[in-house]
């Protein structure tokens, strides 16, 4: 993780690089910022050490290497796996942590910066993932069992869990309101400013031109999309959100989905599952009463109930356009 913290905007906002993306921190008490940044750093180091798929020395890598037998794990990794399994169940298996081997077959078995230029290979034939139900967990002995030829990828939930945990820890230790955003997956804890913590909504979390913003005062907000982590596999262009039914990149329907929920983990699971669900995602999110913004691959935008739809802006010709 980069130690080069930068001060952005006001004294209450800090930004740094971690987990292969951007980590941002907003606190309601400027005097707590440095201490909050240190707590965030510790949480980021912890989740990277425990759940990184790209570090040979991570606990997750050791667990995956031991597939075929039961492995004792730390409380931190056990929690991360429990959360991943809970979200798999909550999404009907659409956000499944047993995509690890499939992700490797697509070439995404190392830091994304090394994958981005493209990798040699062929698109593998469609086949279902082993499935989250094949993962055995025993909280009494704190052991996890994976079948042979199965590897966990906690990328869909571990980052959001880190955001939830960091926000809760910072609020409980320092007493201030806080927003923690890891690659655009944001968690809130404690008292929020009037109108909530403002978060811009864009295709990428590094965008400086977000035309929409929402305010969140509790829980989490997350965005998932197929536009950033794309790479070339042989002659095919692939992305990182896999359909567990095929182990192949999900069919392009939505480019980006943003959702708010009771926690950042849940928001992330909802937005990722929506990408996989495709056309039926809107009705599914409505049924769950989750506020969401969905951007189709052609750029048109749809909203579910509870998401503040921006006012149409007057165009130069005097008509309105959205």
């Amino acid at each position: 993780m980069s130690e080069a913290y930068a001060r952005v905007d006001t004294q209450r906002v800090y930004r740094t690089h971690a987990l292969g993306t951007i980590a941002e921190l907003v606190v309601t008490d400027g005097g707590a910022l440095i201490a909050a940044a240190e707590l965030l750093r510790l949480e980021l180091e912890r989740i990277d050490r425990v759940a990184s798929r790209f570090r040979d020395d991570s606990e997750l890598s050791r667990l995956n290497a031991g597939a075929g037998c039961e492995t004792p794990v730390s409380a931190d990794l056990f929690e991360a796996i429990e959360v991943a399994l809970a979200m798999a169940e909550a999404t009907g298996g659409l956000v499944d942590p047993t995509v690890g081997v499939a992700m490797g077959r697509l070439g995404y078995d190392r830091d994304f910066s090394e994958v981005l230029p493209g990798v040699d290979g062929h698109l593998p034939p469609a086949q279902a993932v082993p499935g989250w139900r094949c993962v055995s967990v025993d909280p009494g002995r704190r052991v996890v069992g994976l079948p042979e030829d199965t590897a966990l990828d906690l990328g869909a939930t571990a980052k959001a869990l880190a955001a939830d945990r960091a926000a809760a820890t910072i609020h409980s230790r320092l007493g201030c309101g806080v927003l923690v955003s890891l690659g655009g997956d944001a968690a809130v804890a404690g008292p929020a400013p009037a109108g909530g913590f403002a978060v811009g909504i864009a295709d990428t979390c590094t965008s400086l031109t977000a035309s929409e913003a929402v305010g969140i005062s509790s829980g989490g907000l997350a965005s998932s999309g197929i536009g950033v982590r794309q790479w070339r596999l042989g002659t095919h262009q692939v992305h990182h959100i896999l359909d567990p039914a095929t182990c192949l990149p999900s069919a392009p329907c939505w480019r980006t989905v943003s959702a708010t929920a009771a926690t950042c983990v849940q928001a992330n699971a909802a937005s990722t599952a929506a990408i996989v669900r495709g056309e039926s995602a809107v009705a599914w999110l409505e049924e769950l009463e989750l506020p969401a913004r969905l951007v189709r691959v052609d750029g048109s935008v749809e909203y579910t109930s509870g998401w503040p739809v921006p006012e149409p802006q007057p165009s130069v010709s005097g008509t309105v356009a959205r």
């Binding site: 655009g184 990428t204 400086l208 977000a210 929920a261 983990v265």
Partner: protein, 88 residues
């Protein structure tokens, strides 16, 4: 007098049956609840738990097997904002 005594005994037996029924239903409910997904009953496979780990605050509720809306409304906010959510 004998009839009154019999009625009293019958009333006591009925009350005892009622109490036993309530206790049995409660015990059955706890047993079934532990057997459903989302709970551990010793070693389990492919289920998740809300207990036993070091989750703090929001992390604890993250292990629930459900997706719930935020407890406060998602509001409109002026752009630009200091933080952006998008694909990463």
């Amino acid at each position: 007098m004998r009839r009154d005594g019999a009625l009293t005994r019958l009333s006591s037996i009925t009350a005892a049956i009622g109490v036993a029924t309530v206790v049995a239903v409660g015990a059955l409910g706890i047993y079934v609840g532990k057997a459903l997904p989302g709970h551990h009953a010793g070693s389990t496979t492919g289920t998740s738990s809300t207990s036993g780990t070091s989750a703090q605050g929001a992390g604890a509720s993250s292990s629930q097997s459900s997706l719930n809306p935020p407890s406060t409304p998602t509001q409109a906010a002026p752009a630009p904002a200091p933080v952006t959510s998008g694909s990463s």
